[in-house]
Amino acid sequence: MAKVVLKLGADVSTDIIYPGRFMATVLPTETPQYAFADLEFNKKLKAKEVAPGSFIVADKNFGCGSSREQAASCLTGWGLKVIAKNFARIFMQNSINVGLNMVICPGIEASEGDELEIEGGKVVNRTSNRSFDIVPMPKARQAIIDAGGLIPFARKLVLQAKGHS
């Protein structure tokens, strides 16, 4: 069980998650410092007031806009989980590739401070005692998640290709 630490609306762009002016910083080890840089939330992160495993809850189309992978890696670095009604395509694929824990939950209702749990294909809101269905990942994408991200997944394929040649 973990808390909702940030509640956001629809169409949260990657410019909000990771402002363009920090894009020269690329390494996943360095990007977390700029997560939501223009929101107060960034200060809470840096003050270590946010426990790893905490939830961000958003409405539709989370991560719309640019393809910058920093927008996913900056959240991974803090161990945050994102629940949204749905995600923009590139952001979703980036999240899977870099191991950001993200959940598609079209009916999600939660407020900041609510305690949530993910359990048997549902998001359970322990505060409101309601539960909401999760949309499962397509098999091919789940395989990348299970491998621990695209780098280990691709590494396996590269080694396989070598073995066959």
Binding site: S13, V26, D38, L150
Partner: protein
């Protein structure tokens, strides 16, 4: 059941007779493009090979393109070092389609790719940039991906997990009225679809307006399909495509063209009457917050930006120059112009547009993304409002979350520069003899000739001199400076 344009391309790229929306495929990649974020791709690429005992070699150096545009020249030592890292990698791997910071062959990736003939109809193109959707203008299936995804493409030569997208068919009919440009069509469409209306889908463009539109205008339209969430935009290739590839991009052999099947299945069909369209403005802070220009009347602006991968092409500059000819940029307004590539810059010099801009008080910058992504070359002050021909107006986009960005066409931007407030371009005088919407006509004409005529028509004084000077039909800027495509 027939196939859509993208279904056909993906069937070919995977060697199958037919595919349908929802299938998960691993298509071969014909072209893989990155810009400065290539630095992250390199990092991830090396990670893939870590502890494998294998040498990290890209699958095909001739199919990788790297173009510096996001921060040129480097705005910080960090960027400069990233660019250096990429330069070293390019040399080591033998990547040929590399465009460094140069005045002869540099520019914005989404202009460099088409003008050098790197994108061919019917191919699969991926890029670590969301506006990679642009290249659907040439009939390719072209879409944006992240850096780690690209690292896997560099290693494997294919892209994993492509779910065949459903397709929205958009039919645009009628002639664009004077002062209304392709940008207005796509802003209108994004407003209609909303920011997520085409998420995970492709938008396929049809209709007489699109058929008559130049490749330049088609690039504008496909470029911004991602603002409705689309995986890609695509225009079935036609005579104009061939004309552009041979004439502009120097492509010698073009693969056989194909369009969608007549009985293809679409998720949705949208019809737009271009003849009734007004200039459009996307209000802050989402691109789908679109209203006719009249709704923005009187909004004072402090910065005008003409450029970007959306609207920095020659016809955009022509359109703006025609309005600015003999006028002044209003005091208190900073007008910045970024030609989308150095080739375009040189043509704009020849046509006299640069002179027109400078005399009016605009600053003509080097080719590149400029302030669009908020890194440098024109950050906004607290409380500033900007009108830009760029593609995004998200909070903070132009470098300051306490400022506002409005989006419009080059004509709207130029008209607004003169008055200092958002202005309907149909209300200002335009220096041109014949009143024809620019991007809507070039389709069948020889572009070189057409351009000259157009330029002459609009800027009689300056161009007469230029036309005389360039009489011997040499091809000064035309010739693609790059080596052969693969």
């Amino acid at each position: 059941m027939g196939m859509t344009m993208v279904e056909k391309i993906l069937a070919r790229a995977t060697g199958q007779a037919a595919v349908k929306a929802g299938d998960v495929l691993e298509p071969k990649v014909d072209l893989a493009m990155s810009h400065e974020n290539g630095a992250l791709v390199i990092n991830q690429f090396n990670e893939i090979y870590k502890d494998t005992g294998l040498e990290a070699r890209v699958w095909d150096p001739a199919r990788i393109a790297i173009i510096f545009d996001h921060r040129v020249p480097a705005e910080s030592s960090k960027t400069a070092t990233n660019q250096k890292k990429i330069r070293d990698f390019v040399a080591r791997q033998g990547i040929t389609k590399f465009h460094d910071i140069r005045g002869d062959e540099g520019g914005i990736c989404h202009q460099i790719l088409p003008e050098n003939g790197y994108v061919l109809p019917g191919t699969v193109v991926v890029g670590t940039d969301s506006h990679t959707t642009s290249h659907g203008a040439l009939g390719a299936f072209s879409f944006g991906i992240g850096a780690t995804e690209m690292a896997a493409v560099w290693a494997l030569g294919k892209i994993l997990n492509v779910e065949v997208p459903g397709t929205i068919k958009v039919v645009v009919e009628g002639a664009l009225p004077r002062g209304v440009e392709p940008k207005d069509i796509i802003l209108h469409l994004v407003g209609k679809l909303t920011a997520e209306g085409a998420n995970f889908k492709v938008i396929e463009f049809h209709g007489s307006t699109i058929r008559r539109m130049s490749t330049s205008g088609r690039l504008v339209i496909c470029n911004m399909t991602v603002e409705a969430g689309a995986t890609s935009g695509i225009v079935p290739p036609d005579a104009e495509t061939v004309h552009y590839l041979k004439g502009e991009a120097g492509v010698k052999s073009i693969p056989p063209l194909f369009g969608p099947d007549a009985d293809a299945s679409y998720d949705q069909v949208i019809e737009i009457d271009a003849s009734k369209l007004e200039p459009q403005i996307a209000f802050p802070h989402t691109v789908d917050n679109v209203k006719p220009v009249g709704a923005a009347k009187g909004i004072k602006v402090q910065q005008i930006v003409i450029g970007s991968c959306t609207n920095g092409r020659l016809d955009d500059l022509a359109s703006a120059a025609a309005i600015l000819q003999g006028k002044k940029v209003a005091r208190g307004v900073r007008m910045l112009v970024f030609p989308a590539s150095c080739r375009i810059y040189q043509k704009a010099l020849k046509a006299g547009y640069v002179e027109t801009f400078m005399k009016a008080g605009a600053v003509v910058m080097n080719s590149g993304c400029g302030p669009c992504l908020g890194v440098h070359q024109g950050a906004l002050a607290d409380g500033d409002k900007a009108l830009a021909t760029t593609n995004r107006n998200f909070k903070g986009r132009m470098g300051n979350p306490n400022a506002e960005v409005y989006l419009g066409s080059a004509a709207t931007a130029a008209a607004s520069a003169v008055t200092g407030e958002i202005t309907d371009p149909r209300t200002v005088t335009v220096a041109r003899a014949k009143e024809t919407p620019k991007k809507a006509k070039a389709a069948k004409a020889k572009p070189k000739a057409a351009r000259k005529v157009k330029a002459a028509a609009r800027k009689p004084k300056v161009v007469k001199r230029k036309a005389a000077a360039s009489k011997p039909k040499a091809k000064p800027v035309r010739k693609p400076a790059k080596k052969g495509r693969k």
